[in-house]
Amino acid sequence: MHDSQNVADELDEIIADIFDIRVGKLRDEMTHEDIEQWDSINHLKLITAIEDEYDIEFSMADVQAIDSIGKLREIVARLRG
């Protein structure tokens, strides 16, 4: 159902929902330093919300490796094959 552009849009929508940030402002290089709401609790909210949306599962290593928006997008793309 999700073509790749839609996936990117939906993913950004989830990130925006949880980090309280405008979709258009998201950049690959952004880290928790740049996003005020990116704390440990919201980090897990983001993970579980994305898993729920795409029916994928991050490993613990993935969860720990996600340190930027770019890294998140990359791992989601890999898990979705």
Partner: protein
Amino acid sequence: MDIAELKTAFREIDDPAEALARLATVDFDSLKPGEISFLHRKLKRLAPAPGAKIAYLGNLTVEPLPDYVDIRAACGGLATASHVGAFGQHYQEVMNPASGLHAFAPDLILLTLSLRELAPDIAFRFSSLDGEQRAAERNRIVGHVADWLAAAKNATQATILVANFPVPAALHAGIADLNDPDGERAFYARLNLDILELCRETARATLFDLDRLVARVGTERAFSPRLTFLARREWDEHLLPAFAGELFRYLVALKGLTRKCLVLDLDNTLWGGVVGEEGPDGVKVGPGDPVGEAFLAFQHGIVALKERGVILGIASKNNPADVEEVFARRPGMPLRLEDFSAVQVNWNHKHESLKAIAASLNIGIDSLVFLDDNPVECGMVREMLPEVKVVQMPDDPALYLDCLRALPWFERLSITGEDRAKARQYLENQKRDVARETTGDLNDYLKSLGTEVIFRHPVEKDADRIHQLFTKTNQFNTTTMRYSPADVERFMTGDRFDIRVADVRDRFGELGTVGLILIDREGEVPAIDSFVMSCRAMGREIESAIVNSVKEEYLLSGRYPALECRYVPTRKNQPVAELYESQGFIVAGRDPESGAKNYRLAAENAALLPCDHIQLTKDE
């Protein structure tokens, strides 16, 4: 409401009341985790005055459960605020007057404890403990909870919910555990029973049945090892909507959001099909047909609500006579017309019927929950009477019972003695009203009941019950004579009348004294004046066993040349309209106006009906 539209609206809204009003129209179960997170953040920023303040204490990471709960409550029309205690600080929060908990002044405290923290030996090393150590650990855990509960009660005015401990998905000893008298499975059962009893014995405390909730969701889906290792957050995302839904049930009960009356449509809601088209025998409800089974189960669910103290009503577009006929001719239905306290069967709009029901019961429109299968009717009621909770039934009747049980609107924290007495009265019906309508083998079913009838002369202490049978029995009542206690005394003492009562029991237990027959011997031949049987004993041919016994005693013995009897129709005694015909009596006269019938059976024509599934014993 469309979620994208809702989100757009929420970006603009600055009035907390408007935000709440919008959320009150949203189906919580349709929301995704990210959407809940978004809506929660917006709502929290608007800070509506909370109708309930909830504190979450314990030794595991509860976030983001409070977001879910706040949004669940808002979708149910209740604004909530939350306080999350520091990890593992549930004692300190309660004991320290300067704690965040005290500043927050909660209405409700939820304590959730993880045994990983509280009792790691139990959680990780169960196999290395002996029976004594396990029992000691159990006592220590219960003691910990009991001490905390006492302190929390003392320090706050809140209602306190204590979560029990979910049974683990896997046992340390594998299935061998089940043969260990001090095994892990038994440990959790005992521990949770202890916690249940502790809560039950403590005023202002109630169990939060996390164990059952987790089982409902599925233990493997409910817990996340990954989140546990990453953040001591044990609860997977899958558990949270159900958790919030369950907690909302407690809020409904605590905050008086409980609704008083369940109003039901009939066709395709209470039974399958349309009575006006299929007829009273054609609508589907009862065993022998999958759709009928589904409606049977659904009706049992409604009976359970009635026993809880929920008032039942009917709002149906139908001919009243058709509806009455269904209830009269389908005795296998768990619900009887008498179970409904307000009945609106007519061709009025449903919202008019609902208003009439509320008025007749003297309750508010906002006390009603309305169930209907028809989207147009549902939509119209929502439009005209927004205070009514309108539930459109799912397409598949298989899901009706689940739909009913999912409704939080009938929760109460306890059920009073009065409710329970009502429940007992219906319990027997529930157990037995099973296979009456079966198209399979009715005889097998009747045999399986193992019905025993004791047909006997009444004694003095039966007088009240006899009076009650005369006055309260409507369906199986051939003449519906409402005799007084003095009449009853006369029947029991003089020479003119023979009166016998029937005590019935079966493999489910005692039905009690459920029938009577009154024979007047004044005339040339004796006449059955009244034949009455409680509806709970109907449908198993007890009447044949009783009439056989009467035939033997009065006719086959050669004592009398004939026996007379009479049927007088009422609005409700349709079930016995053909009773005497079926027992071999001949109509001797008919009153065209009232429909009453006189019968006569001559001794030479008297034959016993086969009725070998009932064992009848006489007292002399």
